[in-house]
């Protein structure tokens, strides 16, 4: 039986050796991919909601607060800068994964911390932007459906970034305690890149397209 | 061959049973009598077109139904395992599939459906066609319907009524369907399919009645507490009768007889109590009883519930007794009409009703509205119980009966 298995397996669908999972991708990585696929539709739903509602209040005659549309108040240079910071964090994430691949734990930690800092800067930027919107421009969450949709969408993304930051910090903490596998960092990196890419979409759709 | 005989017998029995149930179904749904809401007794061209589309579909589906069920019985009996069959010896042929056959039974149903789909497209596109239509605005409310007629098409509403819409026979009607609160669905099954009334949108449904009569309808989108009893009617009149109806609806109702103290007192009570929500057109609260009426509906009607006499969040009462039904289309206003719209499916209505009013229905409604229709007045949904005295009920009834 065992012999049979060993020979048969050679020409079956397993790519390199039988130690690998059926697809050759580890469970963790595949699980993250599948989860991110699911997350795509979460953002897809929210982005659609925003697109439907972004100018709607202004089109309804006599709607209270209908003239307050988030897009009037966007500070494109500022948001471009925070977007750039978030994109840079993807680079540091790659460097971190690269470092652990080489077994260089010190650099891995360094780049993880750098990613965390960049992510936190993005979050701080978002918080700053929200306070300006809220206090100076009068964009409340319940002002109208456009502002609600704006806060819901960007807030959902912000929460994703926040969770990413917590995950990165946890990785740093664990790296002092346990042996780590390169792929653990890689899987968190997948999540991080996804959150970045989603931001590129949001930034384009919400901020740049009039 | 084993089992062959019994398979034939059982298949026959199954066929008889299935056909019997099929006949029961066809017989029962084919009987319009007593069933005011039946979908399979069209009385107008739009409903007829739907009928023409669905009957062939039912026939094809019925055929497949009979074939599968009877075939299943045949398989079950024919290939039943014998007691003395031995595993490993008396084994069936191991058939793994038959690609040609399977492609066949993928393509054949697809082809049948493709043919039917052509008719589907035709009928769908035909649903909105209307020739020189009369437009009537329908507004869904929890839990009653309002109709607005703009006869000249000049943007001024000429007639406001509730729950019972009058239409002329033989003319296409376009119902412009809106909603004031939640989603309702406007459905007169004998005339056309249903259409949702969605707040913030205007939808339309075209229908035409070929025969005069009262056509029953029912709200079919779940709209909260009293959804189950949210009824409406469309009454089709011969063109002459329809003109009579228009004439009556656009003139002020007769004043209560100055000697009729009961009705005069009722009118005062109406102004002080009911007019917060219900309107009688042109009734001026600043004059004194007996109040005068004007002809046209208040142009601000329905704009705000803060203005007495123009409230509009309850049925307009100006020509209350012109309607064959009251209380959200739920109770007959005149003797001889049935509550569920049953009996003969269509009751031909007079343009100006002359029958005996069902006073008791009205009194019961004024006495205990929640006993007839569940409501939640604390949340502004439905009519509160004002704990009227019997005397007040008598007065109000006397007044309301004058509103023709």
């Amino acid at each position: 039986m065992g012999d049979l298995m060993y020979e048969e397996v050679e020409d079956l669908e397993f790519p390199d050796d039988i130690h690998v999972t059926s697809t050759g991708i580890s469970n963790e990585k595949l699980g993250m991919w599948v989860y991110l696929a699911s997350d795509c539709l979460l953002f897809g739903g929210m982005i659609s909601t925003y697109l439907i509602y972004k100018n709607r209040p202004a089109q309804i005659e006599g709607l209270e607060g209908g003239d307050i549309i988030p897009s009037q108040f966007f500070d494109i240079p500022f948001t471009s800068m925070t977007s750039f910071i978030l994109l840079m964090s993807s680079l540091t994430m790659v460097l971190s994964v690269n470092a652990i691949m080489r077994g260089d734990m010190v650099r891995m930690r360094l780049w993880l911390v750098a990613t965390t800092v960049l992510g936190s800067m993005f979050l701080a930027g978002q918080a700053y932007e929200f306070t300006i919107f809220y206090f100076d421009d009068g964009l409340g969450f319940t002002t109208n459906v456009a502002t609600s949709a704006f806060y819901a969408l960007t807030g959902l993304h912000g929460v994703h970034v926040l969770i990413g930051v917590i995950m990165l910090l946890t990785m740093v903490g664990i790296s002092y305690r346990r042996k780590m596998h390169a792929e653990a960092v890689e899987v968190v990196g997948l999540y991080w890149h996804f959150v970045d890419i989603v931001w590129v979409v949001i930034f384009t759709v919400v901020y740049l397209i009039p | 061959m084993r089992n062959k005989r019994s398979a034939t017998i059982w298949t026959g029995i199954a066929l008889v049973v299935v056909l019997f149930f099929g006949w029961l179904l066809v017989r029962d749904i084919g009987l319009p009598g007593g069933r005011a809401l039946t979908t399979l007794s069209p009385q107008g061209p739009k409903a007829q077109e739907i009928q023409n589309l669905i009957i062939p579909v039912f026939l094809v589906a019925g055929l497949v139904f009979v074939l599968v069920q009877v075939g299943l019985v045949w398989l079950v009996v024919r290939f039943r395992r014998h007691k003395d069959d031995r595993d490993g010896v008396d084994e069936p042929e191991q058939v793994h599939g038959n690609t040609k056959l399977e492609i066949g039974w993928t393509i054949v149903p697809a082809a049948v459906l493709a043919v039917l789909a052509v008719f589907n497209v035709q009928t769908t596109l035909a649903m909105d066609n209307a020739d020189d239509p009369l437009e009537i605005t329908v507004i869904g409310n929890q839990w009653w319907w309002e109709y607005r007629y703009d006869l000249e098409g000049d943007g001024v509403v000429d007639i406001i009524t509730a729950n019972d819409a009058a239409i002329p026979v033989g003319r296409d009607i376009v119902f412009k369907i809106q909603s004031n609160d939640v989603i309702h669905s406007f459905w007169i099954p004998a005339l056309a399919g249903k259409m949702d009334a969605v707040p913030g949108r205007t939808h339309q449904r075209v229908m035409r009645a070929d025969e005069p009569g009262i056509y029953q309808g029912q709200c079919t989108e779940y709209c909260g507490l009293s959804h189950g009893v949210m009824r409406m009617q469309v009454t089709a009149y011969e063109p002459d009768d329809y003109d009579t109806w228009i004439e009556a609806m656009t003139t002020a109702p007769a004043q209560p007889d100055p000697d009729d103290e009961l009705a005069i007192a009722g009118q005062e009570l109406f102004v002080t109590q009911c007019s917060f929500c219900h309107q009688v057109n042109g009734l001026d609260p600043n004059s004194s009883a007996p109040f005068e009426y004007s002809d046209l509906p208040d142009p601000d009607y329905g704009a705000s519930i803060d203005i007495p006499l123009a409230s509009g969040n309850a049925p307009n009462m100006t020509h209350f007794m012109m309607r064959p039904y009251m209380v959200g289309g739920l109770l007959p206003a005149y003797e001889g009409l049935s509550r569920g719209g049953g009996g003969d499916q269509r009751t031909v209505a007079e343009p100006i009703p002359s029958g005996t009013p069902e006073e008791n229905n009205l009194k019961q409604w004024l006495r205990e509205p929640e006993s007839i229709k569940p409501m939640n007045p604390d949340n502004n949904q439905g009519m509160p119980n004002y704990n009227l005295t019997e005397e007040q009920i008598e007065q109000l009834t006397a007044y309301l009966l004058t509103l023709k």
Partner: protein, 691 residues
């Protein structure tokens, strides 16, 4: 596991993991109880989790069944005053939501959890702890949802919960808050489970088990999980927006403030239609296992069965708006969705015909499992045909929201899903519990169910075409609805009796088993797929050694071959090809309490959002503590299990032994960080914005 074997790069300064028990993080040592109730609470065993899914969803089946009886009793006679309109509206809403989210879906999940790893020759699912997490989250959400009965009344918006009727303005009670938050919680559980099972099927297959050698049940379950992965986030968005509307005064669905009620409808049905297939595909899978076994023939046209399942899964995304033909969409949308809906009938029809063809020429053995499966073929066909009749959009404007629709989807969900699930229970009961369900009572159960079901829902076709609308708490004696409503109510009580018979059967079978101890053996039905290779009940480690798969219906081919005339002949005794379950040297994933802790936190946060935000604080603390504990927990208990080198050297050459380890037992070693961070934490993002 790949990573383990690829000599992962280690932290040069890091301590060896096996010594981390003494580490400060060792406070989170794995629980070790493997007997008594604790073994159920902390288990990560897919079989125990499957059984718990089954038990819990059967409980909710009884709850929803009682609600159904209340509905039918109210409608037995015209003008009934038994339930008030308000209570009736709550009852039908709770019945629908409970049946969909707390009965059919988790009952299918019970089968998926128990059987998927067995059918693909795996030791467990890919993430055992996350599997426990999804069970507990679902259960806490389900209990949370049903506590609304005691906290101001159940949801009353219908299962579809259309805006704006679901807004605070029109439904001021707490019921709809429980609906929104309860479904979000259950959705998190289902998402975790769907990710887990998707990865399991893709990654954990035994050597040689290519996708096109997987049993049809596995295939259907796989498609179901993929549908869940993509459908759940959509409803989550809708529910989040609804919660924002109700709890934080937003106006996403309030037309008077610029919101659009259509947004809810579209989001709901984009989820809602795939959901229909999510509920019915598992039953199709079960039937596709049962019919071949009792026909003693392979499934007819395996590629078509799989292909039609995939086709249904794909097309199911393009038909959602057929729920909205009367909603006032544009004519072109109506046409597009109407045509798409018509053609989804084709792959479904292929399935029915292939089942019939499987039976053709077979030697049909009619025990209860087979009876239920055959009944499904007949009953589902009726539901499918009535479904075709309202794919015609104009006809649907007459039929929708009438009892014709109620009849249709009960023929699909009861006649399809539930009959299939009952069939599966009779079929796999010996595998799960080590004894048969009684056949005599089983046949009573079957015939009562079949008769009661048809009496209940058959007449509703007639009622619907006669114009009786659904969700009505009453009707009048002169509407002509009385006779068939009474028949329908009588039918529903027959169903109730059949369920009692089933419960009696479960009890009686167990008592008989206690008395007589008849071992059903690994393969009582002379069946075809891998789960019948292992003893009954399944040993904790599933397979002594991972089977190597060469063919579809692998186990059958180990027992049967063909003689020179192509006749089927037995080539091996079951006892020769089945496993004994004696191999005790298998390393199993360690149990954990953290899934339960995380799950308990969610309803606490839910209550906080509804009643008083302060109540959410203990929930949030538990959630954070749970996630922290989860991440820090040693992923395998160093003192509590076997290790690679304990492995029985006789089980195969070293490489094969390692392969087995890689397949199943060593699931979490080494890689837990990524899993733990990526899994539960990111899945909680879906509820985070509410918190």
């Amino acid at each position: 596991m790949a990573i383990t074997e690829q000599t992962p790069l280690e932290l040069t300064t890091g301590e060896d993991r096996t010594s981390s028990a003494g580490d400060p993080m060792g406070v989170f040592a794995r629980p070790r109880a493997n007997t008594g109730w604790r073994s159920w609470v902390n288990t990560v065993d897919h079989k125990k989790i499957g059984i718990m899914y089954g038990v819990a969803s059967f409980f909710f089946f009884l709850v929803a069944g009682v609600e159904a009886l209340m509905i039918r009793t109210q409608l037995a006679v015209p003008g009934s005053q038994l339930l008030s309109a308000d209570l009736y509206n709550q009852v039908f809403t709770m019945h629908g939501v409970t049946m969909v989210f707390m009965v059919v879906m988790p009952l299918a999940a019970a089968f998926a959890n128990y059987l998927l790893p067995l059918q693909i020759g795996a030791r467990d699912v890919s993430f055992p702890r996350m599997n426990a997490l999804s069970l507990w989250i679902w259960l806490s959400g389900a209990i949370f949802f049903n506590t609304s009965w005691f906290l101001g009344g159940g949801a009353d918006g219908g299962w579809f919960n259309y805006a704006p009727n679901a807004s605070v303005t029109f439904s001021p009670g707490f019921g709809i808050d429980f609906y929104a938050i309860g479904l979000i919680i259950m959705g998190i559980g289902s998402t975790v489970s769907a990710v887990n099972l998707t990865v399991t099927v893709l990654n954990m297959r035994a050597p040689g088990m290519t996708l096109m050698k997987m049993p049809v049940f596995t295939w259907m379950m796989f498609i179901t999980q993929v549908l869940l992965v993509f459908a759940l986030p959509v409803i989550t968005v809708a529910l989040l927006l609804l919660s924002f509307d109700r709890i934080f005064d937003a106006a996403f669905f309030d037309a008077s403030k610029g919101g659009d009620p259509f947004l809810w409808q579209h989001l709901f049905w984009i989820f809602g239609h795939p959901e229909v297939y999510i509920m019915v595909l598992p039953a199709f899978g079960i039937v596709s296992e049962v019919i071949p076994v009792f026909s003693r023939k392979p499934i007819f046209g395996y590629p078509f069965m799989v292909g039609s399942g995939i086709a249904i899964g794909f097309m199911g995304w393009g038909v959602w708006a057929h729920h909205m033909f009367a909603s006032g969409m544009g004519q072109m949308s109506i046409l597009a969705f109407s045509l798409a809906t018509l053609f989804i009938a084709v792959p479904t029809g292929v399935k029915v015909l292939n089942w019939l063809a499987t039976m053709y020429g077979g030697r049909l053995r009619f025990n209860t499992a087979m009876l239920f499966s055959v009944a499904l073929v007949g009953m589902f066909t009726i539901g499918g045909l009535s479904g075709v009749s309202h794919a015609f959009a104009p006809a649907d404007t007459q039929q929708t929201d009438t009892y014709y629709i109620v009849a249709h989807f009960h023929y699909v969900l009861f006649g399809g899903a539930l009959l299939g699930l009952f069939s599966g229970m009779y079929f796999w009961w010996p595998k799960v519990f080590g004894h048969f369900l009684g056949e005599r009572l089983g046949k009573w159960h079957f015939w009562l169910t079949l008769i009661g079901f048809n009496l209940t829902f058959g007449p509703q076709h007639i009622l619907g075409l006669q114009g009786m609308m659904r969700r009505t708490y009453t009707y009048f004696d002169d509407q002509g609805f009385s006779t068939w409503n009474l028949v329908s109510t009588i039918g529903s009580y027959i169903i109730a009796i059949s369920v009692l018979v089933f419960m009696w059967n479960m009890g009686a079978s167990y008592r008989k088993h206690r008395r007589e101890r008849v071992d059903p053996g690994p393969d009582p039905w002379d069946a075809r797929s891998l789960e019948w290779m292992v003893p009954s009940p399944t040993p904790e480690h599933n397979f002594d050694e991972t089977p190597v798969v060469e063919e579809f219906d692998e186990f059958w081919h180990r027992k049967y071959g063909h003689d020179e005339n192509g006749r089927l002949v037995r080539i091996a005794k079951t006892s020769d090809v089945a496993q004994t379950g004696q191999n005790a040297n298998v390393h199993l994933p360690s149990p954990s309490y953290w899934p339960l802790v995380i799950a308990i936190s969610m309803p606490l946060i839910g209550y906080g959002l509804i009643f008083n935000l302060w109540w959410a604080v203990p929930g949030a603390i538990l959630l954070i503590a749970g996630c922290y504990g989860w991440v820090m927990e040693p992923s395998t208990d160093p003192a509590g299990g076997h290790h690679h080198d304990d492995h029985d050297p006789e089980a195969g050459p070293p490489d094969a032994a390692v392969a087995e380890l890689a397949k199943g037992e060593d699931l979490e070693t080494g890689m837990s960080n990524g899993t733990d961070d990526g899994g539960p934490e990111s899945s909680t993002t879906e509820e985070a914005p509410v918190g």
